[in-house]
Amino acid sequence: MFKRVLIANRGEIAVRIIRACRELGIETVVVYSEADAGSLAVQLADRAVLIGSAPPSDSYLRADRIVEAARQTHCQAVHPGFGFLSENAAFAQMVRDAGLTFVGPSPEAIRAMGLKTEALARVRAAGVPTLPSYAGNGLQEDFLRAAEQLGYPLLVKAAAGGGGKGMRVVRNSAELPEALEASSREAGKAFADNRLFLERYIESARHIEVQILADQHGNMVHLFERECSIQRRHQKIIEESPSPYLESRPELRDAMCQAALRAAQSVSYTNAGTVEFIVDAHTGEFFFLEMNTRLQVEHPVTEAIADVDLVQLQLRIAAGEPLPFRQADLYQRGHAIECRIYAEDPANNFLPSTGDLLCVVPPSAPNIRVDSGVRAGDSITIHYDPMIAKLIAHARTRPEAIRRLDAALAAYVILGVTTNIAFLRDVLAHPDFQRGETTTTLIERAFAAWQPPSPPLPDAVLIAAALSQLLQSGAPALNAAPAQSDPFSPWSRPDNFRVGA
């Protein structure tokens, strides 16, 4: 096993990887931007190396500096997390060329799956169903012609992309030119590659993906599915396993899991990956969407139902260990749901809400997992994804998991920025969600006009405000000073430290 690993990421996933490394006895080096000098990841890692300023283009996307940092700190491997350079084949190659291990698949597999058109051709050849689509050459006329053949509605997607960036639904030919332009711009910014393609769009769709793991000795398993149909603007916000749709369709689950393995095999995949499918909720047909050649944000739901630690397995596989189990050893037990808590305003087109996290109190309860990279005193800035935390509930049954997740959301205190907590609770409470009828359009269909609750002001809030003012202005003590003390409360002294925040 590696002695020291560099983590080329930030936020909650960097923290998650550090914790996995700690359990394996691996030392960690994290790279960070100036904006993250005071971050939890920097605090928890054994070492931290500054690689640039806040904009990712000057830090987390600077492959050269990251590889240099890994070399200088004598790391043996680089874990890319997700986002940033995690699906960048050139980066994986650079890591390899520097004599280090990239914790992920080969550059060839990343490249093959990264180019959507190539990926589609490969998996189609492996017998995996794909959506009717058109890979453009950049000429608008050709796109328009192809669109007529595919029929509307259709999706414009970035050829190099993932995570919803550069993606647009187009319902008629009038909308297409503008969509092509906008998506091309976004794709160029996000992936430095503005190529696009068109794809048939399924209205009543479920987004279901299959987690796979493959070692370097030819062993490959799947870890069942995750359903991620609850999305807003093509961004997943609630993910679960098992999929409520597949619970009554075991043959379909099996077919999808087998298709996922074939897709992965088509590029000789190693390490952890996810094969995303779109399922037509009416017909039960499923189509390959893309393969994410990295860890997913929603990996914890699989960890909960399969009793695995995907990050630790990634490291073991990268270190050359064989998979510690075979397919027959794996199971999918209980029900797990994750929701992503964002600093954003769901009533205002999900606009990110930047600002200081004045108070953060995560919930604590049995079978509640909180993956977060921020704490009170940190800021949500324009530079990075405004995700505050992932909250994962695990229970025996789906209704219990929903109740548990809701109770945890109710207990989560976040002050200083607007969050989507109230929104998430309303989604969980929606009859369609409760029944497991979770298609990708649920949010836009049922929550377009969502407004946060505006409860009347309870007297207790005024009491709390008054007490806090009163205490602060220095009322006489009830008791003698307790022995315990917080010498660093920023409130207590005029000298407040927040370096690099």
Partner: protein
């Protein structure tokens, strides 16, 4: 002490004071006897009858962010009407320029002061900051005393022009 909090464009007046080991809080015509259970880390736990409530309070300038029972509220400190009226009649309040502690109060209510005369000495960031009279005037009301920890923009005293 009387506090005025603004929430959703409505100003709420709250009187709060010690009553032995408890606090008496009056909101409109409702009076509550409150026992403070715990106050640490922005967390305020208080008893109201057999209910124990937990509020999280964070200050951001004049704004109060308060979480209670899975909901959060944003209040702001309203300018006391008395002060506002005083301002109309020619008195203006002098405020702390930064978070700090009042070291000394150099004047008393009713006293006539000259422009530039030091009124209050604050200590903040290891510096002494002298709050001086912006004009000749009379100290209408003192709103702080030595030892108080004051917030940025918290009024220290009212000074009437003469």
């Amino acid at each position: 002490m009387e506090f005025r909090f603004e929430h959703a464009q409505v100003v709420h007046s709250v009187r709060a004071e010690r009553d032995g080991e408890s606090f008496r809080v009056r909101i409109g015509e409702r009076t509550y006897l409150i026992d403070l259970v715990r106050a640490a880390g922005g967390e305020l736990v208080f008893r109201l009858g057999d209910q124990v409530l937990t509020a999280y309070v964070a200050r951001d300038g004049d704004a109060f962010h308060i979480a209670l029972n899975s909901q959060s509220f944003r209040l702001s400190l309203a300018k006391p009407s008395a002060r506002r009226k005083a301002a109309e009649s020619g008195a203006a309040s002098l405020s702390a320029s930064m978070h700090g502690q009042v070291v000394r109060v150099l004047v008393s209510e009713g006293e006539m002061v000259k422009r530039g005369q030091p009124l209050v000495i604050l200590e903040a960031m290891k510096m002494e900051i002298r709050v001086t009279a912006p004009h000749d005037g009379r100290v209408v009301r003192l709103l702080c005393s030595a030892g108080d920890v004051v917030q940025r923009a918290q009024p220290l005293l009212e000074l009437a022009e003469v």
